[in-house]
Symmetry: C2
Subunit: 269 residues, 2 copies
């Protein structure tokens, strides 16, 4: 077995093999295209009791924060998503936040783990991209080999007493007929953001420059294409920026937690 873990090998690998390589620090890059067919999750980790309030925030904001699983305090396994999954080591790059400031981007959080930490696994749009590709729709950041472009918007989330922040969206440029079909396809996937939140003029949702995403990479948009925007699981990071909790951990955008759950299991129909 090679110590090198090329992009091609990653894409051919099973979810278990991908997690093992990530755990061994042999993969520290974005996870798009890894473990085809397997659900990947956004991660938000908060201490009790703020975690209780974040659970309510997710209930009120199911489009950006569709919950796949929530752990008990201190638990770092999630048997419902994968038998061997270790939340502390199975994300290629984490972000550790203190009072809203990014203080570290480690490849493991085992050394900062605490018994009061609750983990939220949040659905990711990667799960519906497979269904778009299967219908011959070009998913631009995949065909251009970059991270999906993500933007902060002026769309307010529904707040709780102390949690609020603007919605983050991901964008895929599509021809009109593909945009219409994409609405149909993604409506089948409410657990991974569901239908788009906006189509067309980026300025209407507060995006000043579509070519300068706030997270991820810019992609080509052709003249006959509409930008189509989906609610994004990076939204908790805009909540962190807004309310500046004392301590929190997330994944780095695009660097997801790979599970054993098949994407098809998330389809509502």
């Amino acid at each position: 077995m090679s110590a090198v873990f090329s992009s091609q090998q990653a894409q051919a690998a099973s979810p278990q093999a991908c997690r093992q390589r990530i755990r061994n620090n042999e993969w520290q890059a974005p996870t798009a295209g890894l473990a085809p067919g397997a659900v990947q999750a956004n991660l938000m980790i908060l201490p009790k009791p703020l975690a209780d309030e974040f659970l309510l925030f997710c209930q009120r904001n199911p489009k950006p924060c569709p919950l796949l699983a929530v752990t008990e305090p201190g638990e770092y396994t999630v048997p419902s998503m994968a038998d061997d999954l270790d939340i502390r080591n199975d994300v290629p790059r984490y972000r550790v936040w203190k009072h809203g400031e990014l203080v570290d981007e480690p490849t493991s959080i085992a050394n900062v783990w605490r018994d009061d930490l609750v983990s939220f696994l949040i659905g990711c749009s990667f799960s519906f991209e497979e269904a778009l590709l299967a219908e011959g729709i070009d998913v631009r950041h995949i065909s251009e080999g970059v991270n999906v472009p993500m933007y902060r918007t002026n769309i307010a989330t529904t707040p709780t007493r102390s949690l609020s922040g603007p919605m983050v969206v991901s964008m895929r440029p599509l021809k009109a007929r593909d945009a219409i079909r994409a609405v149909q396809i993604t409506s089948r996937f409410p657990a991974v953001h569901g239908t788009p939140v906006h189509i067309g003029d980026p300025a209407l949702i507060g995006i000043q420059n579509i070519h300068q995403p706030d997270y991820g990479d810019a992609v080509t948009i052709h003249d006959d294409e509409l930008p189509v925007f989906w609610a994004c699981g990076v939204t908790p990071q805009s909540v962190i920026d807004t309310v500046k909790p004392a301590f929190s951990i997330t994944h780095a955008p695009g660097h997801m937690l790979i599970t054993d759950v098949p994407n098809t299991q998330l389809a509502a129909l």
Copy 2:
């Protein structure tokens, strides 16, 4: 305006008019058929901090406990569901529980209201019955004019640290072709229990006598029909029976909270 509120008048009435009559104690019966087209909700009320854990229980059990809204502690209005809604007075009959014992079935809970009470509005199968009727499917308890039959099963819910209990289901007898179509139709309504949890032999889910429901009324089942079972929002009452919390309030089965939200708004497609 007559002081009498007949069944026919109720069914013609708007959600606002129905709530007003219920608030004035002019309607204390089950709410099936009232305010056609409007979402009706199951109700679970718990004090903090147990409410925090019940929110997690709902996240882990979306089929019996699909959340339509969750209030802040002490709040008895829910503007997202109806401007004038008053949780303390707008259910025709409540159940007050102490240590798992049913201690009262009042028509108002204003006199036992507390600042630490959190209300959970949980989707109700009445919302998808309209879609079944629209396709010409006979919904037996409606055609027989009784409350829907509900049963405790041996299907375990997914527990949290201190909350657990068997799933309660509602049952509608259907011919095979209608059962198949009903799976399709109800899969569009994940917010009101979604697809059935069982079709056929009641004994397989621990129901000993299909003619003796644990809640609601028995209905006729013809020889060419299958009993079809959906997860039910009365499940929190089996949780109360199992874990016996010090204090809780629910609706009486079938006596729902009527909202202004249209049923069609809950359709996923």
